[in-house]
């Protein structure tokens, strides 16, 4: 359904928002991870320092033991031995703590074991020093050896502690370096992500404000068009209604109320309310067709009557269609036309048509009367006259013979008149069957019809190529007979009649006053003769019925022939013209549509 404007942007807006939300979620997860990492690294630093402190404590305990022992050896005072005695416990306590701290590091554990072995050796060396420094067991050489060995052991211990400290430091440095790398990468990344999210949000904002502008424009247009619609409904005497099949809500346009003869919005329309206005005669039909729309999805025009509250009867024509809007809900759109004026006009037209048909029938019966009943007595008169034999005439008086001959010629004239009149009326009333015909053939037929007079006058008829046209063949033949017959009849005494028939294609635009402009091309067929011609002031009147330019005695005729020509050409939606130069000849021009 294209009848509701489409706002495509809502989809892109949705996409922009989803992207922005994902970016923000991503950003916050990165920030969380940073926090975790920082936490981790500070713990790591603490761990390293703790190991460092414990190792230093271990060191200082051994140094205390060493110092105490030296003091005792020099002074032999037992008070100096106290730190030495405590130091063993201190070493053990530190050692246990260190073992715990390095539990996750096998290398440090091994180093720690080595350190412990060295420390035990150191304490053994202490014991030996004490033993050989004792006056009872004094041995200067051994004491010197052990003292010196203790010195070396101390250096080894120092070395081992430094090594462990170094490992921890290096480990810490590595870890910190990794974190530093991660942290140094992420700020740029997160700032750019943040900027992207910001861009998306800005884009979304721009889209929203643009949509809003468009909405405003559409809204304005909608207001204008609904105003125009309402106005045109009033002018055009029609109305619309919508029935939302999903929500079962029915909306009438203002004019719907008006054409029902009530004030706009004077009631809330429901499914059955409309039927209340329908004339009782048509109620069933309208109800059935309303049901039909839902099944067939559209409604062919229905015609019915409406009874307004003030009892005025109006004639309605309605149609409808089932539409599906963008949201997929089904809406039944109906249009009602108040066609009362047209209906009344139609009735009048029908009345006139009936009258016309009646008068046509009368004309046909006149035709019948003319062909049968009028001819009958005339034929009798003529036959009876023919039965008066020459022998009978011989015994008549001169005047009686004269009268008889006058009766005979009058009856003859009467016959010609009736025949011509019949021909004229048949030109109009007989069925008009258009058949594609070669006009040259029809012209030949006409010539053979006129053979006698052509021979008698030694006339020369020249014809160029004529077109093939959709015509009523016998009428065109009659047209040719009448035109050529006319030329032959009014030929110049003492001059051989020459008739030239020519044809050419012309555009109707070249004859705006004469020809029907809806047909573009016409065939202009001219009949030129060298006859006596006529005064051009009569070029219009010669086509009028019973109009004659010559006396009956000079040129017998009824004045119907050219009227028939005009009628035939009119039957073919063409035009006929006549022109002449008296004494030189006449030209009859027939225009026939292509």
């Amino acid at each position: 359904m294209k009848w509701i404007p489409n706002f495509n942007s809502s989809n892109s807006l949705r996409v922009i928002f989803v992207i922005a939300v994902f970016i923000l979620l991503f950003l916050s997860s990165i920030a969380y991870k940073h926090n975790q990492d920082l936490n981790e690294s500070s713990k790591l630093v603490m761990h390293t320092y703790e190991i460092n402190i414990q190792l230093e404590r271990l060191m200082s305990a051994i140094k205390d033991a060493e110092t105490g022992q030296r003091g005792y050896i020099i002074t032999r005072n037992g008070r100096f031995l106290a730190p030495y005695l405590y130091s063993r416990d201190k070493v053990n306590a530190s050692f246990i703590t260190l073992k715990k701290l390095t539990a996750d590091n096998p290398i440090q554990q091994r180093n720690l074991e080595n350190l412990f072995k060295l420390i035990i050796q150191r304490f053994v060396s202490f014991e030996n020093c004490l033993k050989y420094s004792d006056p009872k067991t004094y041995d200067k050489r051994k004491l010197d050896n052990y003292m010196f060995g203790g010195r070396i052991l101390m250096e080894n211990i120092r070395f081992q502690v430094d090594k462990m400290n170094d490992i921890e430091k290096k480990y810490l440095e590595n870890r910190l370096k990794i974190y530093d790398q991660e942290i140094s990468l992420s700020p740029i990344f997160s700032i750019s992500l943040f900027l992207t999210a910001l861009t998306f949000i800005l884009l979304a904002y721009r889209q929203i404000s643009r949509d809003f502008e468009r909405l405003k424009v559409f809204n304005k247009k909608l207001l204008i068009s609904s105003g125009l619609m309402a106005e045109s409904e009033i002018i055009g005497k029609f109305s619309t209604w919508q029935w939302d099949l999903d929500s079962n809500k029915i909306d009438y346009s203002d004019n719907q109320f008006r054409i029902l003869g009530v004030e706009p919005n004077s009631f809330v329309p429901e499914k059955e309310t409309f039927l209340d206005f329908v004339h009782p005669d048509d109620k069933d039909a309208v109800a059935a067709s309303m049901q039909g729309i839902i099944e067939k999805k559209n409604l062919p025009f229905i015609y019915y009557k409406i009874a307004r509250p003030d009892h005025e009867i109006r004639h309605f024509k309605s149609t409808g269609k089932l539409l599906t809007d963008q949201q997929g809900s089904k809406i039944l759109l109906g249009i009602n036309f108040d066609i009362t004026d047209e209906h009344l006009l139609n009735i009048e037209l029908q009345e006139r048509n009936r009258e016309l048909e009646k008068s046509n029938k009368e004309l046909a019966s006149f035709n019948h009367v003319a062909s049968h009943d009028l001819q009958e007595p005339l034929r009798k008169i003529q036959t009876f006259i023919s039965r008066v034999s020459d022998a009978d005439k011989a015994v008549m008086s001169d005047s009686a013979r004269e009268y008889l001959s006058k009766i005979e010629s009058s009856a003859k004239r009467m016959r010609v008149l009736i025949d011509d009149l019949l021909l004229f009326s048949r030109t109009n009333t007989t069925k008009k069957e258009f058949i594609k015909s070669n006009l040259n053939e029809l012209l030949e037929n006409a010539e053979s019809e006129l053979t006698e007079i052509i021979h008698e006058k030694k006339a020369v008829i020249t014809a160029t190529k004529l077109p093939k046209l959709d015509v009523i063949p016998y009428q065109i033949e009659q047209l040719f007979i009448n035109l050529i017959g006319n030329s032959l009849k009014y030929s110049q005494p003492g001059r051989i009649p020459e008739i030239i028939v020519e044809s050419e294609k012309v555009l109707s635009a070249a004859y705006p006053d004469l020809l029907e402009q809806t047909t573009k091309k016409f065939h202009k067929i001219t009949f030129s003769d060298n006859g006596m011609g006529f005064d051009p002031q009569f070029k219009e009147t010669i086509f009028v019925l019973f109009q004659r330019l010559h006396s009956k005695t000079d040129y017998p005729g009824t004045g119907i022939g050219l009227a028939i020509c005009k009628k035939i050409v009119e039957n073919h939606k063409g035009h006929i013209l006549a022109d002449s130069i008296p004494g030189k000849g006449s030209v009859f021009t027939v225009f026939l549509p292509d």
Partner: protein, 149 residues
Amino acid sequence: MQKNALYILLADDDEDDRLFFKDAFEEIKIQTNVDFVHDGMQLMDHLNDPENKLPDILFLDLNMPKKTGKECLIEIKKTERLKNIIIAIYSTSSSEEDIEDTFIQGANIYIKKPSDFNTLKKIINEVVTVNWHYHTSGLNRDNFLLRLK
């Protein structure tokens, strides 16, 4: 009634026409028996009576009271015993419609009543001397309407 003479039947309600017809047959030099009926009903009664001899040629006026010539024509052509009678339409009318209708319904020839006694004699002479078997087999719309040369 002369034997071997052509038996002619004319159905026409007009007394004068019957008179002209009778006189014309008397003046031509062909042996004929001519009978008359005055309307369509009488015609059909005459033809349907098995006692009566069927005519060699039936001249049929179209405009008759009680039963028109066209109705008679249709009835005759529907009746097995009568359908081979040679029928000459003999009418005042020269309307295309009448000529077309009677041709379609199977009449053999169409004669427009002439307004001259001598012409009538010529027509009658022509019609009774035509070789009908030959004429009927070559019957078409163009030679249906009798025209005298």
